[in-house]
């Protein structure tokens, strides 16, 4: 049994991971993910891509909701803005994808200041309702400004070409998504172990106490809003490229719920949980379909006619069941398994 785990310096406390096995397994995972595009068929690869994009977007919400404790029901607004901020300059005006990605991050970040400033006075449910209202207003504006956004017709988005590499093939695009998701994950992990990350956590756990410790609530909440919107915008742009078509219908309100479901299912406040949650939520409809097809012909037919509805039902039920029976989420279950593995045959 492992014992004698001492920390003597601050660096040891805030290091990403102090365990060699964790680093080794992470390296294995990175290698596996890098190799995956070459090994998997197109069908499975599309799931990998979707998981990577979803995880990126969910990490954005995680910074805001999981870390800072500001509930957002309007996350889809940032995704939508990011997608359009990429699609309009690249597909409509033929600018470089670099400009597109830069705008996909900065445009939502700037707009998030507009939402963030009025939200600074609000807490909890009121903030959730404001962000909800915001996402509807954004969708409405995008539909109305058809001179820029083509309104309801949408914009066709080509796969980008950057650094002299064409990301046209599925393999290359998967690698692009993997790159962005990895950078985002490391970014978020590093924010969390910095002064900013600890300040955000303090705001989440007790904002009055945080304030008395000299944390500027307004500044940190706004920072959380902007970073979150930036990351989500990039994810939105990737999702738009993945769909190869950006419309308001491509970003339904359900996506906000889906993002919250990922955080809850994974374990609120945990970055690892976001990854688990993304995998779970993306694969859930597929698993549900397989399970139904085992039940027989009629059940399988139900899935083909009401696929979207069944998917929503699964999300909803997953949210309710996790909150009811395992509020710590998948990360909690994972921790239990790990402890069992390390301590066995002892219980503690």
């Amino acid at each position: 049994m492992r014992s004698g785990h001492f920390k003597e310096r601050t660096e040891q406390l805030i290091v990403l991971s102090d365990s060699a096995p964790v680093w080794a397994w992470s390296a294995v995972l990175v290698v596996a993910l890098a190799a995956a595009p070459y090994l998997l068929n197109a069908y499975l690869l599309s799931f990998v891509v979707l998981i990577l994009i979803t995880a990126t977007g969910a990490l954005g919400l995680h910074l805001l909701t999981g870390r800072t404790g500001l509930i957002s029901l309007g996350h889809v607004g940032f995704l939508l803005l990011g997608a359009y901020a990429y699609a309009v300059p690249v597909a409509k005006y033929g600018l470089s994808p670099f400009v597109g990605f830069a705008l996909a991050g900065t445009a939502p970040a700037l707009v998030s200041v507009l939402v963030g400033i009025p939200s600074l006075r609000l807490k909890g449910l009121y903030l959730a309702i404001t962000t909800l209202a915001f996402s509807f207003i954004i969708a409405h504006l995008v539909l109305q400004m058809s001179w820029l956004t083509n309104g309801a017709r949408g914009i066709q988005v080509p796969r980008p070409e950057m650094f002299g590499i064409s990301f046209d093939s599925d393999i290359r695009f998967a690698q692009l998504c993997l790159f962005v998701a990895t950078i985002t994950l490391f970014g978020v992990l590093n924010i969390e172990r910095s002064r900013v990350g600890r300040a955000l956590m303090a705001v989440r756990d007790n904002d009055i106490a945080a304030r008395t410790m000299g944390i500027n609530l307004q500044a940190y909440k706004l920072r959380a809003f902007m970073t979150s919107a930036f990351v989500s915008g990039i994810a939105g742009a990737l999702f738009g490229i993945y769909l190869s078509f950006v419309t308001v219908e491509g970003f339904p309100f359900l996506m906000s719920i889906e993002a919250l479901a990922i955080l809850i299912v994974g374990g609120l406040g945990s970055t690892l949980g976001v990854v688990f949650g993304s995998i779970f939520i993306v694969l859930l409809p597929e698993v549900g379909r397989t399970a139904l097809s085992l039940l027989g012909e009629n059940a399988a037919k139900l899935f083909s006619t009401g696929a979207n509805e069944l998917r929503s039902v699964l999300y909803g039920v997953a949210i309710i069941l996790f909150l009811r029976f395992e509020p710590r989420g998948l990360v909690g279950l994972w921790g239990d398994r790990k402890r069992l593995w390390v301590n066995w045959p002892l219980r503690f």
């Binding site: 509930i71 029901l73 009025p118 006075r121 609000l122 909890g124 449910l125 009121y126 959730a128 309702i129 404001t130 909800l132 209202a133 915001f134 509807f136 207003i137 409405h140 539909l143 109305q144 009055i208 359900l254 719920i257 919250l260 479901a261 809850i264 609120l268 139900l302 009401g306 979207n308 509805e309 069944l310 998917r311 929503s312 039902v313 999300y315 909803g316 039920v317 997953a318 949210i319 309710i320 909150l323 009811r324 509020p327």
Partner: protein, 290 residues
Amino acid sequence: MQYLLDQVISGIAVGAIYGLVAMGFALIYKATGLVNFAQGEMSMITAYIAWSIAGTVSGNPWLVVGGALAASVVLGLAIERVVMRPMLGEPVFATVMVTIGLAVVLRSATLLIWDAYPHALDIGAGREIVHIGDTGVRSAQLAVMATLLLALGAFWAFFRYSRIGKAMRAVAADERAAKLMGISAARIHAVAWTASSVIAGIAGVFSALLYDVSPNMFHVGLKSFPATILGGLDSVLGSGFGGVIIGVAENLAAGYLAPSVKEITGFIVIIAMLMIRPFGLFGEREIERV
């Protein structure tokens, strides 16, 4: 002038629907301290049940109304008992997320059980045009306004005179003290969920009468949010009035600015209201003590 009058009157009728749903929001918030994001879905399900009943027994409005009321009572009780009561004592965030999950489930279940097409709810009444001066109003529009007034009066009396109403106010003010006085908080929550489901159901049936039953009916919940925020989340009567204001504002914005503005008028009102008076026109200011 006539145009303005038309807009205002039909605005009041829509606003009465919003007001009823908003009262449901406020009732649950007052009793349990959480926002029920499934309110619009609950009103949609009741409307669909009413439509199913109207399809089997045609031409008897009382049977349809009675059946819908009974269904909404069962729905409210079932949701409280099965979904919400196990969450008692959990953090507000978790409980609110459960209502969001519930909303998604109910919404998709409606699509799975019934279909995705709009249907007219025909109960053999409510479509006649009544003339007030030069303005033609459908009788269902008048009925919904009357219902809102009735509901406002009934809730005022309920909170002021009835034993359960007083108990509900006590639970809202201080749940622990209320429990120590022998009030069963769980029962009060059940009453609140049931009452809220019933008024949401009434609103749903009226909305189905005036427009159609369709899977988009849950939007009435989203559009009633502004009403509750305007009136005050913890003020049941204020929310009722808030609904009327939102309905009229929506119609005037659509009539005088642009038809498309109608969809987001309420949301703009929310943001403006939350910036100026987050606790609403009639709500109680929250004071935070360290």
